[in-house]
Amino acid sequence: MSQQSPDAAVLDEEGGGSSASVINDFSIQVATVNGSGSQSANLVLMRSIFRMGIPVSGKNLFPSNIAGLPTWFTIRANKDGWTARRKEIDILVAMNPATAREDVLDLEPGRVVVYEDRLNLSELRSDVIFYPVPFAKLATEITTDSRLRKLLANMLYVGVVGELMGIETQEIDAAIRKQFKGKKKAVELNMQAIAIGIRYTREHIRKIDPFRCERMDKTAGKIIIDGNAACALGAMFAGVTVATWYPITPSSSLCESLEGYMKRYRHDQDGKATYAIVQAEDELAAVGMAIGAGWAGARSMTATSGPGISLMSEFVGLAYYAEIPLVIFDITRVGPSTGLPTRTQQSDILSLALLSHGDTRHVVIIPGTVEECFSLSLEAFNLAEELQTPVFVMSDLDLGMNNWMADPFQLPTRPLRRGKVLSAEDLAEAGEFGRYRDVDGDAIPYRTLPGTDHPLAAYFTRGSGHDADAKYSERADDYVNNMNRLKRKYDTARSMAPAPVVHDDPDARVGLVAFGTSDVAVGESRVQLEREYGVRTRYLRLRALPFTAELDAFIDRCDRVYVIEQNRDAQMSMLMKMELPVERIGKLRSVLHYSGLPIDARFITDELIAAERKENG
């Protein structure tokens, strides 16, 4: 049995251990039980690699459950900065008896398993490298408290993996101090666990795998943040004053982060709040409050995910038709229905574009990085008020809840844009006011806020038919004129929405279009395509609906365009087909990933090459 010789790694000769080292390019997966307190350990491990100067990301693959079900945390370190999910795992830390067997069998040959030695995993196969560690037993050396022992067993594997990979102890210690900031006892206990893990590894494990960390300088000055916190910061620095929400995974942490930041930074000189954050009774109320607040002149927002978007549909139609600004964050998850609440997908885009009954078109902002979660969320508030319409910010679970590296955020140099709001003085000067008149020819009307002290200020807001002066009307011409103006307003939005990011290549005939979190996987795939197959690509990343002129021009430059999406039905492609000229539509192909796991570069490369082979006969 393996326990008889715990010192020796078990390894098949041909299976693994090529003599060449693999430096700063690996994925670690920690398999634990939900609720076991492993998150701190995982973050410490990730952050200590980050502190070694190596680009890194951390993804939590978790169940919809409080405690007891399996959960996996994946850390990807990559010297070139490719930190999208990678399918292959190089180092598995198997702490969960329930999944250990399957996790080990899923590994590619030559990979590494660090595991609780009571699990007897080394019998499963002979072509991977096993490092058994008696975690439970080692934890008894630290404390007799059984609850603490469980938590500290997690930190032990950080010590073991750190030592195996050559992560500097001082960086692990620094990461621990950050993680348990201000909690002296916790810092001490965890450092002790790290030291025991390191000592055990030095004394009992002979390293024969090739994966290693070496210090580099690619993370100096960088930050690590999740997209939801970045969106929250964008909202705070946009000056949001009313945020109303209903808890739903994976968006809850957006408003919770916002509350944390606002408590710290948003008080007047008397210590009173310059904001209101309200947990509503459901998503209907959440969006209704944000609409009421937007109508009354606040910068307002709500945050939700797919099921909440479905519920908000009627209200969003009202805000579109009555022209009320607000920002709605949709942190998408896997649908339809409850779907996979803790997995990622981009399957709401078609709903968002057209949400609500009747003819409706919405502005959707699509950040692809945590930096854009900040800057484009901030911009969304400007657009909502300038355009007087609901603006969606569509992020997803992968971007929203996982940890990403970025350059520190910068405040925009442009001041806030609050749109066309008439004050009492403006009204006195103008001498007339019609709420839905197109005075400036851009189809954006002027509005007044309740409480404006002028007899001309009041108007009646309604979701029923209205004329240019907001009077109730069922007249055909009033209805058509108003709907046509709303359509023209959407065209005005084309010149204001964030333009796509285009990576052009004059020699490439194949084009890629993607959006949101697919970005980092697409970037890596483009390198694979060129390096491994000699296929050069142009790449356009959409950052908003409505589409801007760049999209049409981009497709025109390509022979074929692969629209890469994380949904089954090629939803973005459908939206493109609704608008593009027919000669462009014929060029569109799709690469679709919708398993609930974040898209990875290898998937895109394989799919695209297979498709290209068919194209080229």
């Binding site: 009421g292 520190p408 200020a457």
Partner: protein, 345 residues
């Protein structure tokens, strides 16, 4: 022929009652809702509320059309069915200086909007919430609503086989601090209650039985004019003494109860044959249960608990309405961003 012109009467702001009117009603002639609209106009005029400070809110239904018929100088918002409480809550979060008047109906509040109605009350959002209660869906031609009494008869002759939701009892359960019921055919009581409502801080629930002359005014209806007139049971005679008009009238010892409102106004309750204490919530619930059982239409100030903090107080909001804060007040500086970024390295 001689013409005599009497100068129009004005309120304390110098405004005539015409300044408080709205557009022409498009409801059926004789609709109870129009009577309520008239008393709203009168109450707001008599109190002297600045029309520009008022936000009128409604959902969907006959009742929800009425904000177009009063206070034309106030912003109005006719929102979606049953969801006006959320819109009103948001508006009050944005601008705490507004006086919010929500007009709803029994379908809007007791069926599709029951959840939002309950949570509005529970939060104690500052708003005068009036339910124009006729027990029937008028705009869709006469279906029973959830406040229709058990055993009452529809225009088509069907008997209602479900119990009624008593919105006043529900409001008490939800923690509402001002619960009253009135009848569209009792203008004196109604106008006093609306003025008292303006003086209250927090949610006011005013349930007004408002007969639907087209679909629910027949024999067998318990929300008809004849039924209400016959069965109305006054808890007390109500009068209202505004803070700017301290008129002293001597009453017989023990015959009146004065309730001091937070703005200094007083609601004067003159006893009828019953001895009723509107500050006793348990007694209020018991009274509603008994009178519902006896098929009496109990009207008056059912419950009042002055001086409770409203929702905005619990949020510790700044004095300036959030909607009026400039960028300098709502955008933390460069140093704040720098501090956050430092914590993430």
């Amino acid at each position: 022929m001689s013409t005599t012109t009497t100068p129009p009467r004005t309120n304390r702001l110098g405004l005539g009652i015409g300044e408080y009117k709205g557009g022409d009603s498009t409801l059926c002639a004789g609709c109870g809702h129009d009577a309520i609209t008239s008393q709203l106009i009168r109450a707001f005029w008599e109190y002297g509320v600045e029309p520009q400070r008022v936000a009128k809110l409604s959902g969907i239904g006959c009742s929800s059309k009425t904000p177009a018929y009063f206070l034309r100088q106030s912003h109005g918002f006719n929102s979606v069915h049953g969801r006006m409480p959320a819109v009103g809550t948001g508006a009050m979060l944005a601008n705490r200086d507004l006086v919010a008047v929500g007009i709803s109906g029994d379908g809007d509040s007791a069926s599709i909007g029951l959840g939002q109605f309950c949570h509005l009350l529970r939060r104690n959002v500052p708003m005068i919430y009036i339910i124009e209660n006729n027990g029937v869906y008028g705009l869709t031609k006469g279906q029973f609503s959830a406040t229709a009494d058990y055993g009452s008869k529809s225009k088509g002759g069907a008997l209602n086989d479900l119990p009624a939701i008593d919105v006043c009892a529900l409001a008490l359960e939800m923690g509402c601090n001002f619960v009253a019921r009135s009848f569209a055919g009792d203008p004196k009581q109604l106008v006093a209650l609306i003025k008292a409502a303006i003086s209250h801080r927090g949610t006011v629930l005013l349930d007004v039985v408002s007969p639907c002359v087209t679909f629910n005014n027949h024999e067998g209806s318990t929300k008809s004019y004849p039924f209400a007139k016959q069965h109305e049971e006054l808890l007390h005679e109500i009068s209202y003494v505004p803070f700017f008009e301290q008129i002293e009238v001597d009453y017989e010892e023990g015959s009146v109860v004065d309730v001091e409102m937070h703005d200094g106004s007083r609601v004067r309750l003159r006893k009828t044959e019953r001895d009723y204490d509107p500050t006793d919530k348990a007694a209020a619930l018991a009274m509603l249960m008994r009178t519902n059982h006896d098929e009496e239409l109990l009207t008056g100030l059912i419950y009042i608990n002055e001086g409770q903090p409203d929702f905005l107080a619990s949020l510790d909001l700044c004095e300036t309405p959030l909607a009026r804060l400039g960028s300098e007040a709502v955008v933390p500086g460069e140093s704040a961003l720098h501090e956050v970024m430092e914590s993430l390295t």
